[in-house]
């Protein structure tokens, strides 16, 4: 198997990591959820191979806020790594079910959440109903990002 992910992220950058954990220490996702910390992600990639990370659903808990990258003394583009890993996971179908559902909804309705209840609330407050979502346009955009190669939309 060709290791495609290292085309999107220079693997050599990982060798710079000191495992100092400033990244994980500053990660807000880690504060609220059992996410895979960036330090641990890097260590697994280095010691056990990135497959182990790609299979792990905890990878998806990162909110790509970039704080880890900001604090990293070695200027490792950690978020780029996490995005590359998620792309890899997605291509292998390792997408959390909830996330898959959200994407499906977006592709079908042009919106990422169900809004008919919202319309009732809007009416109650005397607001006009939401205009229809540009479903085709949204779908086009999703296709352009290559999402259709990963999930059926």
């Amino acid at each position: 198997m060709t290791i495609k992910i290292w085309k999107f992220f220079q693997r050599e950058q990982l060798f710079e990591c000191y495992q100092c954990a400033r990244c994980t220490g500053s990660c807000p996702a880690m504060e609220v959820a059992p996410a895979l910390g960036p330090r641990e992600t890097i260590l697994i990639c280095l010691n056990q191979g990135h497959d182990r990370v790609v299979e792990d659903e905890k990878l998806w808990l990162c909110c790509t806020c970039n704080v880890c990258e900001d604090r990293c003394p070695q200027e490792i583009p950690i978020c780029d790594l996490l995005v590359a890993l998620r792309n890899s996971a997605a291509r292998r179908g390792n997408i959390p079910i909830r996330l898959g559902m959200a994407i499906e909804l977006l592709a079908k309705t042009g919106r990422s959440m169900i809004v008919h209840q919202l319309d009732e609330m809007r009416a109650h407050h005397g607001l006009a109903p939401l205009p229809p979502a540009p479903v085709d346009e949204v779908r086009d955009i999703l296709k352009k990002t290559g999402l259709d190669e990963v999930i059926e939309i």
Binding site: Y18, R22, T24, G25, M30, E31, R71, P73, Q74
Partner: protein
Amino acid sequence: MPRFHDHTTDLPEEVFQLKNIDESSVSPGPSNDLRIGVYVCHCGKNIGGTVRCEEVAEYASTLPGVVLSSDSLYTCSEPGQEQIKSDIREHGLNRVVVASCTPRLHEPTFRAACESAGLNPYLLEMANIREHCSWVHLHDKDAATEKAKDLVEMAVGRATRLTPQFELTVPVNRQAVVIGGGVAGIQAALDMADAGYKVYLIEKSGSIGGRMAQIDKTFPTMDCSICILAPKMSEVGRHPNITLLTLSEIREVSGHIGNFKLKVLKKARYVTNECTACGDCIEACPQLAPDEFNAGLSIRRAVYLPFAQAVPSTFMIDMDLCLNSAGIVACDRCFQACAHKCINFADKDQWLEIEAGTVVVATGVDVYDPTALTELGYGRFPNVITTLEFERLINAGGPSSGELIRPSDRRRPQKVAFLQCIGSRSKRSSPYCSNVCCMNTIKDALLIKEHWPDTEIYVFYIDIRAFGKGFEDLFRRARGEGVTFIRGIPGEIIEDIATDNLTLLGENTLLGRHYRYTMDMVVLSVGIRPRKDSEMIQRLFNLSTDTDGFYMEAHPKLRPVDTTTGGVFLAGAAEGAKDIKDSVTQASAAASRANILMSRGEVKVPAITSRIDPEKCTACGLCARVCPYHAIQGGKELGYYQVVEAACQGCGACVPECRFGAIDQTHFTEEQITVQIDHALTRDPNHKIVAFACNWCSYAGADFAGVSRIQYPHNVRIIRTMCSARVDPAWIERAFLKGAGAVLVSGCHPADCHYNNANQNTARRVEKFWKRMEKLGINKDRLRLAWVSAAEGAQFARVIEEMERGLHKLTPESIQEDAEKLAKRSTGKSESS
């Protein structure tokens, strides 16, 4: 090992002397009188593992003038040198070529061997087949072997044109200057003064002592720092051989090894040395400022003594702060308070001129300012302090009289955290390890435990580096005292506004768990950095700096306290982060190196200078204008110009400047280099890069690429000059005419030139050549100018790689066409800019 002999020719009586031949008529081969011996060194496996040395030696034996050629395991060893000596005697060798490591390492060794066998040392030539060949082409034995042959051929070619040179002996002034009065400068000054030499110790601040005076206790022995330093400081103050100049800075330097002339600016102190340090003036002064010695944790007046044990123990006035700063006496309270009338508002800055034979640079270091790491809150949260502030805080002579208190509420902290590697091992600040902060933290932790054992101490670290004698023991003691070590640096510190307590968020990497610790005080273990003003001394003495910004030693292992500037030595942390013991050791080493020069009283200077042929000189004076040392004198009245040999530093910048070919440089003659160029291009010239590299930076940079085993394309042939300003545009042209694919001219970065910015001429001449190429429609990329420092091995490799890629765009036809274009325009000694 096989030896290739030629028994035919008779031994010549004298060393063969070459005429100065015009560049355009370089004779095709050497005369019969030449008897060259070639020695190809295996350097164990270092060369022999990649280059087929026997094959190279065999090839060398076929070169004209070579009468003997052999390979050996270690040419620099005693038997290796003996072999050369006996061959000189027995076979009447009159030139020796050693193909081995860089001449920057063993040229002196082999020169001495030649000399002891009666051969003029300047008749030795070296081919660098290790740093410039085997180490950088580890995986291509064929290419490395071919390259080694070329390099040997170039060296043999050059050897045929070498002539004996005689070194000038200059006297060494038996006075020394030490710059910087930290513990290193103090030690160096005392060692030289005790040996009987006069020493000027020049200190920028108001007192000697440096960082060590600020530290409370010292690891690993936990002695009181000032208690062991103060006696040494007073010894400096009263030593009959030491003149201490404080508030002083060197502003100008001229001269060279043995005879430096320094101009020193000694700033006004405004207090005479009758001051008894009674301190009566302090109370009188209304002006306040943060006390630098106490890291800003306390307040001093405008009239002050830097610290209690200061040497000299004379008060001083900070004129920027004093109410009389405008030059009018608006306040004289200190004057009134002083019973001895030591205050002198009329004191003036003074310029002093000092002559010295040797110089020791011991200017020390700065500490990292962690304000930029906003997540740690230094500067915003009062209870986040640095280790330097902590040293003052815990010191009996410090702002809290040694009581451990935290700044926000002056209460004793119960929980103290230390954060390691702050400002070290980071691309955002300094990439290197500062070497002292791990042990310093462990020492600080133990100090707290000693006085306030109930304090909880947490050390957040990445690695604990306890490598020195007694260090591991201290580390073990700290663990034994219950200091908690947590692997993982906090990513964030949050301050509780109500309590001023600090919450640390992070991950314990060994447990793989998130932590949240609330602390009363956080100490940032800040790293050591090169001084902000270190560039000044660097420029004045033409020193190099390493990639981290510290002054660079002449050789990392064998000449660790020398610099590349003769007579200038390094001591202490200015050369790299180090602790007190290492600083003192190095200072004694530097002093001893300087003492060798001074006790001899004379030193030989290399016989590499320029000479002007008065017959050819038309007295145009162009050369005199480019000489950075004003070493060329004469004029229209005299009818010619001439080089003052003692003043000439041998950069060679003047040579290409002469349109009439009247100047040449000894040991780097036009002819010698032209022959090297020709031999570099005898085979397959279109695929070759001819690289001119200056001795101090770029050649050393290429050496460093070798030492670091950075691999780069093998088709480069390096030719050494002392300064890139020696590179004659005629050489560039010659290389192109001979079909070279590309030419590189490389030298020190503009401000780092070892010859007083002579390399501005390099840039000017290369630019002029580019213009000419442009006019003729020749691809300018074929000539490259690159500044490569001695530390930039990787940069050298990158440049060669890029140039090699450029070669792929060329065809033999296009190269031929370009050569024709150049040839059409060139006449005689073509391009003198």
